[in-house]
Symmetry: C2
Subunit: 279 residues, 2 copies
Amino acid sequence: MINQDPRLARLSLNQKTVNRCSVAEAVQGCTEVGIPAIGLWREPVHEIGVAKTAKLVDDAGLRVSSLCRGGFFTGVEGAERRGAMADNRRALDEAAELGAPCLVLVVGGLPAGSRDLPGARQRVVDALAELAPYAGERGVRLALEPLHPMYCADRAVLSTLGQALEIAEAFPVEQVGVVVDAFHVWWDPELFTQIGRAADRIASFQVCDWLTPLPADVLLGRGMMGDGHIDFRPLRAAVERAGYRGDIEVEIFNADVWAEEPHTVLHTMAERYLGCVCD
Amino acid sequence: MINQDPRLARLSLNQKTVNRCSVAEAVQGCTEVGIPAIGLWREPVHEIGVAKTAKLVDDAGLRVSSLCRGGFFTGVEGAERRGAMADNRRALDEAAELGAPCLVLVVGGLPAGSRDLPGARQRVVDALAELAPYAGERGVRLALEPLHPMYCADRAVLSTLGQALEIAEAFPVEQVGVVVDAFHVWWDPELFTQIGRAADRIASFQVCDWLTPLPADVLLGRGMMGDGHIDFRPLRAAVERAGYRGDIEVEIFNADVWAEEPHTVLHTMAERYLGCVCD
C-alpha cells in the first residue's frame, strides 16, 4: 500500500535500514511504500554492479540521495593509506555513475597502537585536499560525517559538526560538505549554532533515534524515530532554516530492525517520519 | 612496598577504582603504596559514617581530593527534584566535614519519557543557582563534570568542557568549578582551548583510559592508563599550564580491575601514572 502523504516527498531510505535486502529489493520496497529516494551502500551495489544499480533506480523513478561510504583515510603514509585513497576515488566514480549528489565519508579512527589524535585529524585534511578536486571534476560532493564521540578511537576522529565545518570550509562548497546525522550530533550543545553556520555546506541530513541502554555492540544502537530520546522536529527545522532542501535519509543500524520483515520496516519508517520528524 | 617516587605527590586514588574496598581498606592501601590522597564516594563513607571516615583519613595523613558525588538534578519540579536538592545539600555538608575541596556533580540525564534536552540543561543552571551559595558557606566547591556524550540521555546532559564552563562562569569561582576527566573529554576538538579558558575553574583532574571495544555495559569501559587510546601527557601539561596544581585522581570503572587484588591495582595505578601521565 502506497503512503501518499505529500510530506514524504523528501524521505529517503538509507539502504542500511533494510540491511538484508538486495538493491532490487530495497528499490522495490521504496516503490511499494511511496518513498521517493534511496541512499545506496557500496557493498550491495557491487553485488550487482554500478550500471545495473543505476538502471534499477532509474527505472523505478527513484532519486539517489547519497552513496555510503568512503573515508577511512586516517592511516599513516604507506600502502594501506594509498589503497584507501584509491578506493575513495573509485567510490567517487561510482557515485557519479549512480547520480548520487554526495559520497558520505566516515573518516577513520586512530591507527592501531597510535594515540596521536591531532595527527590522525590532520591526515583527514590531507586526504580531502587530495580528493576534493577529483570529486569536483565528477560533480560529486564529499560529505564529511562527524560521528558520535564514542566512535572517536575506532571509527571517526571527526566528532562534532563544528570540527567538520572547520575542515570543510577550506574547500569549495560544491566539493566538500557535511552530514548532519541526528544520532551522532543530537547531544552537542553547539549543534544549533553550527547548523546555522553550516548553511549550504549541509550535503546530507540523516535521522534515527538514540536508544538506551546502548546495546552490547554500540554500532547497532540506532533506533527507529520515536523509540528513543531525540527531539527531531527542532533539528529538522534548524536544518531547513540553514537552507537545506535535500532528502532526509533514515539510516538505522539495529539488529531488531534488521530482523523485521523489510516491508514492515519501510511502512513504520514512513509513519514515524511523518509523526516524529515532519510538522 | 612504598613507591617513593616524588612525582606521586599529586596522585589520588578515587575510591571507585578499588570498588570492593571499604574506606578503611582503601585508606590503608594508599598508605602502603605511597599514594598521598583519596577521592571518596558517599556510599562507602555512609557505611562507617562521615566522622569515622574523616578520622581514618586524617590519622593516615591522607588528603581528601574530592567527594563523589552529587547532582542528578535534571528532573522537573516536584518531590523527586526537591529530594535531589536536599540530598545535594547533605553531600555538601559531608564534603565540608571530610575536608574535601569539591563535590563532584554528575548532573543527570533526560527525565523518563522526556526529549526536552534544552529544558534539562536549564534545570542544571537552576540547581546550581540554588546550591552555589550553600556550597560557598561551607567552603566546598561544586565541581561540574561534563560526561562523555554517550551518557547524555541517561546520566549527564552536560557533555563538553565548554558547556560546563559556560554554566560555571556565571557563579563565583570558589563556588562552582569543573572537572576535567580524561575519559569523558579526550575526543573533544575544543579540549585544549577550553582547558586554557578553564584556568582556575578546574576543580578536579581525573584520569583513566578509553578502551575499545567498549564493554557491553558502557559505564564500565574505563581502563587503566596505558591500556587504551588516550595520550595523557599533553592533557596533563595543558591542565597544568591552565594553573591547576591539585591532585590527579585515578578513577576506573572496570569489572576486570575491580576483580583484581586491590593492592595490585594500587601498585599498577602508581606505576602507570608515572609511566603514562607524568613526564
